[in-house]
Structures are given as C-alpha cells and as structure tokens.
C-alpha cells in the first residue's frame, strides 16, 4: 500500500496571523528559542504565529504539511510581520576573514519560484522502475535532521511514495539519486534563503543566509523585562499583562521607562 501525500497543494499558502498579544509573542519567543533542529523550530514558530494556513486552522500538523519552500516563505512573511523592516540594512561576517560588512536586503522582495507541474509529486524513472516522490515538506525536513548520510538517499527514503521506499532508497544507484533530485527540484517551489556577497575586506565570495529566527522574532528577555516593569509599576498580574496587545504593552513599558529616566534626571 502506497503512502498518502501529505504536502499541501498550495506551495505558498495564504495565512492569517494570530492576534499579536503577549501570549502569542511569548509562544513565538519560546518557539524561536527552543532547542532542536531548525525545521522543528520553524514548525513551532509558524504554528505559534499562524492562526490559519490555506484555510485550515493553524498548528503543527498543517505547518508540517507545507512544502519546504512554502515554510521558508511563511517564515519570511512572519518575520516581516513582526520585524517590520522590509528593506533595511543588514550586516554579516565573512566566514573567510571574519570581517563584518554591511549589505542591504529587501526581505519583502525575496525572489521565489513557483512549483512545477505535478506539484507536490514528482515522477522519476529509476533503475527500479517508475517511482513517485512527494516534494519535501516540514515533516520531511524534521525527519531528515534525525538521519545521517547522503541527503538524496535520505530524502528518497523519506519522500518515496512506495510502501517499501526505505528499502528501495538503499538500492538506488547514483544515477537514480541524480534523477530523483532533478525531478523534485523541477516540481518544487523555491525561494531564496540567502544572499551571494563578496567580502569587501578579503574579496571572498560567500553566501550569507537569511535567517529570520536569528533576529526577527521576539526575545524572551525582552518580554520578561517589560512584564516585570509593568508588574512592578502597576502591580498587574502576568496573565493580564500578557493579554494586552503587544503595542499597548510596549507603550506602557516605554512610559514607565520614561518616568524612571525622568526620575533619574531629577536625582542627578
């Protein structure tokens, strides 16, 4: 019996974000700071921020069904939603010489490629016969991180539609793996997840990753600091503070900080 196709047919699904209150922000921050593989963290973050994905209620299951490129696109969307700066200046470190250099990246205009025909399934003529492979999704990515070996063979085992895909993956030769890779690339959507840059110091060509998990999502320390500040000033309870919309919570925290600075100025 063949495996069922789980990947969402929408490569870049429409989403609806959750109301951005303290609880959501705290869930996103905890997901971004969680331990585990990057695909697992992406699943957690998108599950925390997306209330609805392609018309379905958000959550781990639906996020795992989104194709790899679609997940990265959702992550960049979420980053833009929270971070807000679509076209800002960034900096990166050269992996060759370690120098830091600046570059401008428009996160709202990251190039992407629409999926090919047959998405989310690619048919490949292998040495074992005609086989169907599902384009990698979140579940495949998470599973991949738990395995070792040639990525092509691993994904062939994970994405094979056949009931004995695991055993057949071992038997695929190099040509089979090359054809499987090419077929999946042709069927899958794609999105840029990095920027090619030349280091101004050493001139080395390098690819700088766009990693929204590193900068776009709220940090636990910031949330705790604001909650602490409001709780200390107004004597509110944590659930009440976290129930506030984030912009109101930040406004209160800024007011309290301003009062503290004013008091500091009076004391000086």
């Amino acid at each position: 019996m063949a495996r069922t196709i789980e990947t969402l047919p929408a490569a870049f699904p429409e989403i609806r974000f959750r109301a951005f209150d303290g609880e959501t922000e705290l869930a996103i921050a905890e997901a971004a700071a969680s331990a585990g593989s990057r695909p697992a963290r992406v699943t957690a973050v998108l599950s925390a921020i997306c209330a609805e994905v392609a018309g379905e209620p958000g959550g781990y299951a639906v996020i795992r069904r989104v194709c790899a490129a679609g997940r990265e696109w959702l992550l960049q969307r979420a980053a833009l939603h929270l971070y807000g700066d679509g076209a800002g200046w960034f900096e990166a470190s050269c992996p060759t010489c370690g120098a830091t250099f600046d570059l401008r990246v428009a996160l709202d205009r990251v190039p992407r490629a629409e999926p090919g025909s047959g998405f989310p399934v690619a048919e490949v003529e292998t040495s074992l016969g005609l086989r169907r492979f599902e384009t990698p999704n979140g579940a495949h990515e998470e599973a991949f991180c738990a395995r070792e070996g040639d990525p092509r063979r691993v994904f062939a085992a994970l994405c094979g539609h056949a009931e004995r895909a695991e055993a057949e993956a071992i038997r695929f030769d190099e040509a089979d793996l090359e054809r499987i890779d090419m077929a999946l690339e042709a069927a899958s959507p794609e999105i840029a997840d990095g920027v090619d840059a030349r280091c101004p110091a050493c001139g080395a060509e390098t690819m700088v990753r766009i990693e929204p998990l590193d900068f776009a999502f709220p940090r636990l320390d910031d949330i705790f600091r604001e909650v602490h500040r409001i709780a200390a000033a107004y004597r509110w309870r944590e659930p009440d503070i976290l129930a506030l919309p984030v912009h109101r919570r930040r406004a209160y925290a800024a007011l309290i900080r301003g009062d503290a600075r004013a008091a500091a100025g009076r004391l000086m």
Binding site: E141, V208, R261, L267
Partner: protein
Amino acid sequence: MSFLARIARRAAPAASALRPKGMARAPAVARMEEEESAQPLRRMEVGEEPEAQPLRRMEAEEEEAQPLRRTEAEEEAAQPLRRMEDEQEEAALPLRRKEKEEEAQPLRRQAEEEEEMQTLRRTETGGEEEEVQTVRREVEEEAAQPLRRAGASPEGLSPETSTVPDELEGEAAPPTLTALRRAPLSAPAEAVGRVGSEAGPAAGPVALPPALHDRPAFDRPTFDSEEPPHDARFETPFESRFASFERPSVQIDRIDVLIHEPSKASAGAAPDRSRALRARYLRRL
C-alpha cells in the same frame, strides 16, 4: 549544489547569516537601558533607606524598651512590699543606732583613756628629760672649770691686757684691720669659686671679684707729690713690714659643680649646647 543538498543545508545552522545593523550591540544597549531605568529605583531605595531608619530604630528601641517597661510594671507591683520593707527598716534604725552607740561607748572610753595616758607619759618623760639635761650640763660645766682655770694667767693677764715686751716696743702695733682684711679675702675666695664655675670657665675658682679691686685703698700709703718707684708703688704697709709673712693660701680639694640643665621642652635646640657645656666642664675638672 543539488536541490536536496540545499534543503539539507537549510536545515543545518548557518555559518554566516544576516543580522540587522547594530543588532549585536542591541542586547548590550538594552541592558544599559535597563540598568539606567533601574538606577532611580535603586536610588529611591537607597534614599528611602535613611528615612526608614528612624522608624526601624524606633521599632528596635520599642523592643529594647519592653523589658524596661515590664520592669516598671513589676516595680509598681513591688512597691507596697518595698514600702513595707522600708518602713520596717526605718523603725529598726533607732534600735540599731542605740545598739551601735552602746557598743561604741567602751571603745571610745578606752581611746580617751589612752590619750590621757599618753599625755601623762609625755609629761613624765619631758620632766625627766629636762632634769637629766640640767644635771648633764652642770657636770660638764664643773669638769670644764679646772681647764679654764689652768689656762688663765694667775696675774689675771690676757693678750688684750698684757703689756708689750721690751723687744717689741719699737714696733708699731699691727693694724687691727689686717685680720679683718684677711678674713674677707679668704672667705669670698671660696664663694667666688662656686660662683665662678657658674659664670664660666674664664672666671677661675680663686679669681678676685672685680668689686674688690674697686674698693678704696684704705690700707694704702698716702702718696707724696713725688711718684714712688715702680716696684714699691703697690706695696702695702703690711707687705713692706711683714715681707717674710706667708699669706694664707686656700687649697680647694673638691669643687662641687652644679650643672643646671634646661628642660628639653624649654630648651628647644639647647640639648646639644647643654651637653657640650657639661662635657667642657667635666673635661676641665
């Protein structure tokens, strides 16, 4: 790079990733802001602390005062008992005074008797002493009488009343002032020796005081209009007449030198000077 390899690479942590400009410094800035905002709170705490101190002190004093108050309450409760004890004490005082007075009477009497006895003893011993001394004086007087009688000339002559011998008739009587003169010469010599050491090393122990040179030459001969020879100019009549007479010389065996050393507080830089003076005197001696 193959498609599946790119997906695999995306799943792994990035070696180099974008980060907003200044993001590396953002946590430090946030910490600084937090620190700044926390400063007033800390200052307020610090400022409130001294204000709260009196209250705490009052609380502490309250706790410390509790035992005292309790003692006061106990004191009040104990007052009737103490009053009774005091009254009993007061009532017992005259009795005690009487007892002590009676006990002290014999002792006082004994002391008075002792004093009387001592007075008597002193009177008795004083009378006896006087009697003994009178007797001793009489005995000594009687023993001295034969000596006096032996020294006295049977003719009742004395150096003052005796006649001048024949061999001395031609000579004039020595002036009675000579003895007087010698006496002042010898007596101040000893005094000058003591004073001279105080005045300084220049003044010798036997140097004549300048006042003696200025004395009127009552014993010098009256000069004629013709100037006398140089060697006889200062001859006194005594020296010319008693050339063979040896003048008494004063030998000083021991000189008591009293060094007044100024105190250190008043001398200041004098200790070295006083030490030098003392060393000089001791060297001379």
